[in-house]
Structures are given as structure tokens and as C-alpha cells.
């Protein structure tokens, strides 16, 4: 057993982590405080609860840092299975909150297992890929790896929580890093786009526009050898996929399933018409100017114009109250953290560590990209939280574990290869 080496701990990641968590809480306070309550730690208010979650996550951090790093590799399969069981159990014991059966409720505390499943899946994938008998370039091994990802993703999709399921697409980056062909990346990207666009715009529009794009590509490309058959293949593929998404959605699903998807996709929350959330969020951010209106001074935030502002839309508070400078600060912090995770991944000697750390970077990136992209109106509305910022204990703990397992593995990188 190697002793934990605190000197090797990556303080940059930890510093950025704490900056994000603290700044996140500051914004949750502003988005949810009311003049009536004076205490910063009023447990009846979201900001008070979040303070408690932050406190509890310190315990997670200590436990993780105190755990031997081999534990995560050895027990990764068990952790993964426990995680799958907890997701399965939701279908029996789960509690439905705003349309999705994603929660266990113990007393006053709700736990969302999908937030923890990300770390578990990352560990399991790392374990499988780093296995000496695994060659990720082989098709049957690729299929197994995809299975590891698909199981939790499908279970989460069944809750239904399409947003959280979408995050599993981020592992494509990890797989690509580890050697699968680039075409998977392309297909993955295509599948996600077609899936989201079909639900948002309908398969007719998707098929029509993909045909137009195919025709355009045909006329714009000089080397037309085999091109036509490729384009026809892709267009038919997209059409079939889009149709099947559409068919399953409209005919297999019941109305309440559809409603849940629509809620997650932001179609039903649109109380005042298409794009209300995004409009309000853009108004709030846009009104921030260079330096923002000041903490707790945001008019849009105070007036509660942006729905879900302390959870998914928390970044609009940053934009309104801290302005361009504050928003840029958050973007830079996330960019540093994600790039730091990439850097850490690349310096690992063990493949397990590398795959895990790379997955951390990928997961954080997808959350960052989809959430902020949605809040500033350049990505369709998909409800996933902004790591460390959005209100919610499970989310905070999930991401804390994700990051600190990485920090722990990294601190032992010199001794962990065998």
C-alpha cells in the first residue's frame, strides 16, 4: 500500500473547485433569497440547504482523499453494479419530482442516483478499457464498452430524464482518445443532434433539412466518386433514425411520457410560448452590461422572471448581477478546470487513471457546454445542471466525487502503476 502523497495533490484543480462552489453558492443565494429571511443558513431556503450540502461534501472529500487509490480501481465493477441497481430501484421505490422518477427520498433528503452514476460509469469504463485483455480497436470490445455506457444511459432515459442520459454521449470523447475510429465521434454527434432536433422540430423538418444538406454537399464537392452512395446512405440513415425516434415518441410512449420528455426538453415549461425561458434568460444576462447590477440587485433575478433560475438557469444570475466580467470569470474557471483535467489525464502512467481522468474532463465539458449554451441561447433547451453552481445536493456531491477521485488518483500517479 502506497501512502497518500499530499505533496502530489493538484492544488490548481482544488482551488478552482472551491472558487466555483463558493461563487455558485453566492449566486444561488441571490437567486433564491427573500427579504423575509435574514440568515445565510436558513435551512428552509435553497441557499441554506446548499450551504449544508457544501459542508457535507467536505466529508466526501476527506473520505475520498483518505481512501487508498487502488480501491477505486479494484471496486470499480462493484461500484458500477451498485449504481445500476440504484437506478433500477427507482422504477420501484423512486419518487417523481417534476415529471421524472429520479429520486429516492429518505426523510427530508432526496437523492438522485443518476448524479452518482456518472462517476461510477467512468470508473467502470476505465477499468474495462485498461484491462490487459481489452483491445478497444476490436469491434466486440467496442460493443462491450458501449454496453457499459448504454446500460445506465437507458435506465436514466426510462425515468425519463433525457438530459442526464445525454451526458453519457460525453464518453465518446474518452473512447476516441483511447483509439476508436473517428467515425464513431461523428455518428455519435449526428445521433445526438438528430435525436434532439427530432423531438424539438419533428422528423419532417429534420429529414427535409438533412436532404437539402446532402444535395448541397453533392454539388459543392469536386470529387464525386462514391459520394452519391454515401450521401444517400447517410440521408436514409438519418431519416430512419429520426422516424424511429418520432415513432417511439408518438406511438409507443403514452402521453405522460411525452409530457416528461417535453418538460425536460423545455417544450412544456414554455408557459408564455416557445422560447420564454431562453428569452427571459437572455434578457437577464443582456441587462448585466460590463459589471452587472451587483449582488442581489438583479431586477430579473429578484422578480423571478427566469424559471428554474437557482438550478439549471443559475448562470443567468451570474450574467445579470456580475455582468460580462463575472460571466467571463466563470467561463475561464470552467475552462481551466476542464483543461486541467485533460492535462492530468495525459500525465497518468496507468491507463485506468488516464481513462478515468479523461472521462472527468469530458463529462464536465458536456455539462458546461450544454448548460451555458442553453442559458445564453445557442443550444436547444436541455435540462442539465451547471456543475458546482446549480442548486442540488446530489449534483454537487456527484461532481465533487468525480473531481476528487481524479485528484486522489492523480496524487498517487507515481505509485499506482503495477
Amino acid at each position: 500500500m502506497a501512502k497518500s502523497n499530499l505533496a502530489n495533490i493538484d492544488w490548481i484543480s482544488i482551488l478552482v473547485y472551491f472558487l466555483l462552489v463558493v461563487f455558485g453558492w453566492v449566486n444561488i443565494y441571490s437567486a433564491s433569497f427573500s427579504e423575509a429571511s435574514s440568515s445565510y443558513f436558513d435551512l428552509n431556503q435553497p441557499y441554506g440547504k446548499q450551504a449544508l450540502w457544501i459542508g457535507l461534501s467536505m466529508i466526501f472529500i476527506i473520505i475520498i482523499l483518505a481512501t487508498e487509490s487502488k480501491f477505486f480501481e479494484r471496486f470499480s465493477s462493484i461500484i458500477y453494479i451498485v449504481s445500476l441497481v440504484s437506478l433500477l430501484g427507482l422504477f420501484v421505490f423512486g419518487k417523481t419530482i417534476s415529471g421524472a422518477t429520479s429520486w429516492y427520498v429518505f426523510g427530508g433528503i432526496s437523492i438522485q442516483p443518476s448524479e452518482f452514476a456518472k462517476a461510477a460509469t467512468a470508473l467502470a469504463l476505465a477499468k474495462y478499457i485498461s484491462d490487459l485483455q481489452t483491445n478497444i480497436k476490436r469491434l466486440n470490445h467496442q460493443a462491450k464498452a458501449f454496453l457499459i455506457l448504454a446500460l445506465p444511459a437507458l435506465l436514466i432515459m426510462g425515468q425519463p430524464d433525457a438530459g442526464s442520459a445525454l451526458v453519457y454521449a460525453s464518453f465518446v470523447f474518452t473512447m476516441y482518445r483511447e483509439g476508436i475510429a473517428g467515425i464513431y465521434l461523428f455518428l455519435g454527434f449526428l445521433a445526438v443532434s438528430v435525436f434532439v432536433l427530432t423531438l424539438l422540430l419533428g422528423s419532417g423538418t429534420v429529414i427535409f433539412s438533412s436532404s437539402i444538406i446532402a444535395i448541397a454537399i453533392y454539388f459543392l464537392t469536386k470529387n464525386k466518386k462514391k459520394l452519391i452512395s454515401k450521401l444517400v446512405f447517410y440521408t436514409i440513415g438519418i431519416s430512419l433514425f429520426s422516424f424511429s425516434v418520432n415513432y417511439v415518441f408518438n406511438h409507443v410512449f403514452k402521453q405522460h411520457h411525452r409530457d416528461r420528455f417535453n418538460i425536460v426538453l423545455g417544450k412544456e415549461v414554455d408557459a408564455k410560448g416557445i422560447g420564454y425561458n431562453t428569452d427571459q434568460s437572455e434578457i437577464a444576462i443582456g441587462s448585466g452590461g460590463w459589471f452587472g447590477k451587483g449582488w442581489t440587485e438583479g431586477t430579473q433575478t429578484k422578480g423571478g422572471f427566469v424559471p428554474e433560475q437557482h438550478t439549471d438557469y443559475i448562470f443567468s444570475t451570474v450574467g445579470e448581477e456580475w455582468g460580462f466580467i463575472g460571466s467571463l470569470f466563470v467561463i475561464i474557471l470552467f475552462t481551466i478546470l476542464i483543461i486541467r483535467a485533460l492535462f492530468i489525464a495525459e500525465r497518468q502512467k496507468s491507463q485506468f487513471n488516464r481513462v478515468y481522468c479523461y472521462s472527468v474532463a469530458s463529462i464536465l465539458f458536456v455539462h458546461f457546454f450544454v448548460n451555458i449554451g442553453m442559458v445564453i441561447g445557442i443550444v436547444p433547451t436541455v435540462g442539465i445542471p451547471l456543475p458546482f453552481f446549480s442548486y442540488g445536493g446530489s449534483g454537487l456531491w456527484g461532481f465533487t466525487m468525480l473531481v476528487f477521485i481524479m485528484v486522489k488518483l492523480d496524487s498517487d500517479r507515481m505509485t499506482s502503476n503495477f
Partner: protein, 621 residues
């Protein structure tokens, strides 16, 4: 490549987000207003507009509360239109039209739907207001006139139009602004500063309390009270004298340039332009092109000044040294000049006459010869004329005087260039322009210019720019524009002989029947020919009756100029009115009862209908 792909995507994402944020937060400023509009409600608290007083502290204009029904189109919910229209005494079509107009102006900003409710409408509506979401009542203050005269001086207030809103962001749709007269000239002082209250709203449009704890809120600042220079009793008396006549009276205090009275006839009751009936009445008066009640004749009408102009020609001749006061010129019912024996006519009086006599009997022949001497002093006549013009300009002729009321006309004193244009051969001579000698021909001036000239003569060589403002919030004005002496080009010593002549106008001249017991008045009659076009034919109308006067002779208290359109000779109407005005102002009572009765009982309405009768008519009867 495999190692770099995610890194590149992350960096591109960060750059893309930054660019998008820059666009939203910095580049596109419309979001700032959007935010204000849906989260912060702005309430205005309109201050009282400043009061207007006359020079003797008499209240002329006060305020009365008024209530506008405003609407914010975005917030309007379905409501009982029928009941609403019934309460507001309007029709559904009108209401819909107003609402559409409001929507077109702005969906977020309030617009006036029904302006200026009566008190009973307001009382009734206030109780029902909760039913009409998106509508509210805005209190404003309207003018409450304590006088029926001086509408031309006071002006009026009305709703700002979109052009003003665009130019001056202080104003919001529905705000009131001074439109004419003092209201317009002293808008900034009178309006005060409106108070602003910012109220934070939530997404359901409920008010949550004041925005930023009221840090940005401001209290209204009351408008400043103004004391005007006019004497409202004199003004009212002048208006009474001018009944059934057209023309203008301008009375000044020579020692200060303060305007004591500025009367235009016909005029209107200022109350006509208050409240909801304003626009109807205004339109009616605007299209009255015969009586022109909105036309301020005292400031705008350009008449030939006629014989009063002789006084100033006399002064110029003395200053230029081309005559001495004792020089006599003969007059044989006129003055014959030029190779073809043209004649400028004159009435019968003893001949020859010197300067004082020339003024007293208003001898055309005398002034024709004086004028020739002025122009012919220099060679060529161009130089002589421009020299003459220079003197006139020092009295404020030929240009805007610079008084503090908005409308004005420059009048005209012809220059050498003017005649060169009319006579391209430039072969014109003093005699060509001889009408200028007696204030006819190319010379035109406004009544206020003529009054100003009279004041300058009364002061023996200087004047203060005429003005209406006396005190602002009880502080006497110190505007150098109105407190600086304007010196004329005539030396003070030359005035005495001319003033003597003007005194003789009353003692032995053309206005001897106009004397006011106990007051030594100096004046000058004037009778100006005038023409109009009837069906395209230049037609002469009855002469304008003109009079200038100041009194008393020493330490003058009042100087005035009076024009009565088509009133025939100068003493007939204008002279009588001027004596009555002077007596009224100096003695505060009228002893010349018979003269007053004559003026009040004589009407010129018949004279004014002549050109429109379509039949040939006689003039100067």
C-alpha cells in the same frame, strides 16, 4: 490529433461563449431596456407647474389637478369594453383606435388613452379601476387661468408629440409641455423636475416594493413661479379698447424695457385651450384665417410704420448734421421732385415749417427734403442709404429684437443692395426711395419694434431689449440680455427738439384733441396706406391708424405703439386708444369718459368685411 481534439473543442466553446456574452451584454444594448421594462415599473410624480404673476403680484395662472387614463398595452387583460366606454364617455371605436396607437408607440411604455378626465369621471372611475388591468390613472396638473386676457402672452400647454419625445428624452408620451408664449419660452423654469419612482415587479407583474430600496428614486421639484412684466389691468383695459377692431398694442416701460402690455386683437380666452377641449378649439382658431386669433399682431404683423417714422428720420438728419432744428422747408400741399415733376402729397398746414413744427403737423414735404439730405450727403446714394440704415438698425429695426417670447418677425429696412437688386442698372437715387421719408414704401416694422423706438426716444438715446420676465421665484432677473443698455447711434442732445415736436403733436398738432389733463404726452400720429389682393387684383384698403406715444415727457413711465388695422388716420383710433392707455397706466383711472365711450362704441367690423363682400367698396370714409 486524438489528444488535441477535446482541447480544441473546449477552447472553441470558451471563445464562442465569450463572443455570445459580449454580444448579449455589451454590444446589444436593447436588453438593458428590456430588463427595465419587464422587471421595473417606472412611476412619475408630476410636480406643480410654476405660477404666473403680473408685475403687481396679481396671480394670472395657477394649476388645477387633472387625471389621465393611461395604459400599458402589454399588461392589458380582457375587460368589459362597454362599461369602460360608458364611464369614460367615449365610443368603442375611439377606444380601439387609441389602444392600437398606444400599441404602435410601445408595448411596454404607458400611453394616454383618455386624457384629462373631469372630476366626476375621475371619482367614478377610480373605484372601478381595479377591474381594468393594464390601465391606471396618472395625475397631472393643468392650467387654471385667473384672467380672460393675455392668451397671446401666456401661451398654453399641451401634450408633447413624438418629435419632441425623440429630441428631448426628458419627456414621455402624455407629458405636457409649454406650446406658446411664456409657457414655451420659460418651459424649463415652469415645468420643474418630475419625480421618478422605480418599482420592482415579479414575473406575474405584482409589485414587490421599491427598486434598490429607492436609491434611484427622486422627488419631484416644483416648477418656478414667474413674475411677468405685464400689468394685467392695463392689458385687460387695452383688450377692452380693442374690441371690434384688429391690430396690436405694445406698451413698454422705457427705463427698463419691461413690456407692460402686449395686446393683439382679436384674441381668445386662454381657458379655451385647457383640457380635453383644447385640440378642438385650437384647430378651430388655427383655421380662422380671417380673424387669426392665434396670430400675435403685436409681435408678428409687419406694417409700414407711417409717419411715426418721421421722428427717427429727423434724429438721423440732426446726427448727420445735414439740417439744424431751425432750418425751414416750404410745403405747397406736397413736395414736387424729379425731372418729370413727381409729387408727394401733403395736407394743408402753414408753410414753411421747422423741425418741431414739421413733426407737429406731420409735414410730408419737410421730411421728403430732410430724407434727401440724409441720403445725398454721400455719393453715390448707396453709401448714403446704408449710412441711414445703420442708424435705424441701432434702434432695433430690420431685425429680431431678441425679446423673450417665441414668435417674431424681423421687419425690413431696405439696404443699398436691396435697391440694386430692384434696379439692376443701379441708377436709383434718393428720390427713388423717397417714401422711406414718411415710413411708407419699402420700410416695414412690427408694433413692438415701433414701441421700442418710442422707448429709445423717451430715454433720449438708448433702450433695453423688451422682455416679459421680471422675477423667477421672486429673484429679480439678472439676464444681461435684458439688463444691458443698447445705445443708439444718435447723440442724446439731438433728442430734445424732436421730443418737443412730439409734444406739440398734442399741444398744437395732429392730436390736439387727445390731450390728457395733467400728463404731458409726446406722440406721433401715423396713417399708413395698405393694399391687399382681391381676386388677384391689388386693391387699396382703408389706411391703418397708427400712433406712438410716451409719457410723461420727463422721466417717462410708458412708451407705446398702437396699430389699428384700417382705422383710417392716426389720431382717429390709435391716438385715442393711446391716450386712454396712458391715462389708465399713470392715473389708474379714466377721466376721459367721452373718449372711452367713443372707442368702445366704434367698431371696424364693417370695414373688415368690405374686401370679402365681392362688391366694389369705398375706402377712407
Amino acid at each position: 490529433m486524438r489528444k488535441l481534439l477535446l482541447l480544441i473543442i473546449i477552447l472553441l466553446t470558451a471563445i464562442g461563449f465569450t463572443a455570445r456574452l459580449f454580444y448579449l451584454q455589451i454590444y446589444d444594448t436593447s436588453y438593458e431596456n428590456l430588463s427595465r421594462n419587464n422587471a421595473v415599473k417606472i412611476l412619475y410624480d408630476y410636480p406643480q407647474r410654476g405660477y404666473l404673476f403680473d408685475r403687481n403680484n396679481k396671480l394670472l395662472v395657477a394649476n388645477q389637478p387633472s387625471y389621465d387614463v393611461m395604459a400599458i398595452p402589454r399588461e392589458i387583460k380582457a375587460f368589459d369594453t362597454l362599461e369602460f366606454c360608458k364611464i369614460l364617455n367615449t365610443t368603442k371605436e375611439k377606444l380601439v383606435k387609441k389602444l392600437n396607437k398606444a400599441r404602435f408607440y410601445s408595448r411596454q411604455l404607458p400611453s394616454v388613452i383618455v386624457p384629462q378626465l373631469t372630476k366626476s369621471e375621475y371619482a367614478y372611475l377610480q373605484e372601478k379601476m381595479w377591474k381594468y388591468e393594464g390601465f391606471y390613472i396618472q395625475k397631472r396638473s393643468l392650467r387654471d387661468y385667473k384672467t380672460k386676457t393675455a392668451a397671446n402672452v401666456l401661451g398654453f400647454i399641451g401634450e408633447v408629440n413624438n418629435r419632441i419625445i425623440k429630441k428631448q428624452p426628458y419627456y414621455r408620451s402624455g407629458d405636457l409641455i409649454g406650446k406658446q408664449g411664456i409657457e414655451s419660452a420659460y418651459e424649463k423654469e415652469l415645468r420643474g423636475i418630475k419625480g421618478v419612482k422605480y418599482i420592482q415587479k415579479d414575473r406575474l407583474n405584482r409589485e414587490m416594493g421599491s427598486y434598490k430600496n429607492g436609491k434611484l428614486d427622486t422627488l419631484p421639484v416644483r416648477g418656478k413661479d414667474l413674475h411677468l412684466t405685464i400689468d394685467i389691468e392695463l392689458q385687460e383695459y387695452g383688450k377692452k379698447l380693442m374690441q371690434n377692431k384688429r391690430g396690436g398694442i405694445v406698451a413698454l416701460e422705457p427705463s427698463t424695457g419691461e413690456i407692460l402690455a402686449l395686446i393683439t386683437a382679436p384674441s381668445y380666452d386662454p381657458d379655451l385651450l385647457v383640457g380635453r377641449k383644447r385640440s378642438v378649439n385650437y384647430t378651430k382658431m388655427y383655421y380662422d384665417t380671417i380673424q387669426k386669433p392665434l396670430y400675435d399682431r403685436g409681435l408678428l404683423a409687419e406694417y409700414p410704420p407711417g409717419s411715426p417714422f418721421k421722428t427717427i428720420n429727423a434724429l438721423i438728419a440732426l446726427e448727420e448734421g445735414v439740417i439744424s432744428p431751425e432750418d425751414r422747408f416750404s410745403c405747397h400741399h406736397g413736395y414736387t421732385y424729379g425731372s418729370r415733376g413727381r409729387k408727394m402729397g401733403c395736407h394743408s398746414h402753414p408753410s414753411p415749417v421747422n423741425l418741431t413744427k414739421g413733426i407737429a403737423v406731420s409735414c410730408n414735404s419737410y421730411f421728403a427734403q430732410v430724407y434727401r439730405k440724409i441720403i445725398e450727403k454721400y455719393e453715390p446714394p448707396q453709401k448714403g442709404l446704408d449710412n441711414w440704415r445703420k442708424h435705424l438698425e441701432s434702434f432695433g429695426f430690420g431685425n429680431f429684437l431678441g425679446y423673450d417670447l417665441p414668435p417674431g418677425r424681423p421687419g425690413r429696412i431696405p439696404s443699398a443692395a436691396y435697391y440694386d437688386k430692384v434696379y439692376p442698372a443701379k441708377n436709383w437715387r434718393a428720390t427713388t426711395t423717397l417714401s422711406n421719408a414718411i415710413g411708407q414704401g419699402e420700410v416695414v416694422s412690427t408694433p413692438i419694434q415701433l414701441a421700442n423706438m418710442t422707448a429709445a426716444i423717451a430715454n433720449r438715446g438708448f433702450y433695453y431689449t423688451p422682455h416679459m420676465i421680471k422675477k423667477i421665484d421672486n429673484a429679480t432677473i439678472s439676464n444681461p440680455k435684458f439688463t444691458t443698455k443698447n445705445k443708439t447711434t444718435i447723440s442724446p442732445i439731438h433728442f430734445e427738439k424732436v421730443i418737443e415736436g412730439m409734444e406739440q403733436v398734442f399741444t398744437k398738432g395732429t392730436a390736439s384733441f387727445l390731450q390728457v389733463p395733467g400728463i404731458s404726452i409726446c406722440g406721433k400720429t401715423g396713417t399708413a396706406e395698405n393694399f391687399t389682393k382681391i381676386d388677384g387684383i391689388r386693391t387699396q384698403l382703408t389706411d391703418h391708424s397708427i400712433f406712438i406715444a410716451f409719457a410723461p415727457k420727463d422721466n417717462p413711465k410708458i412708451a407705446l405703439a398702437i396699430f389699428v388695422e384700417n382705422g383710417y388716420w392716426g389720431a382717429r383710433y390709435a391716438g385715442r386708444i393711446s391716450s386712454l392707455m396712458i391715462e389708465k397706466y399713470i392715473k389708474k383711472e379714466i377721466t376721459l369718459k367721452r373718449m372711452e365711450d367713443w372707442v368702445l362704441s366704434h367698431s371696424l367690423e364693417e370695414e373688415y368685411t368690405k374686401p370679402y363682400s365681392g362688391k366694389p367698396f369705398k375706402i377712407n370714409q
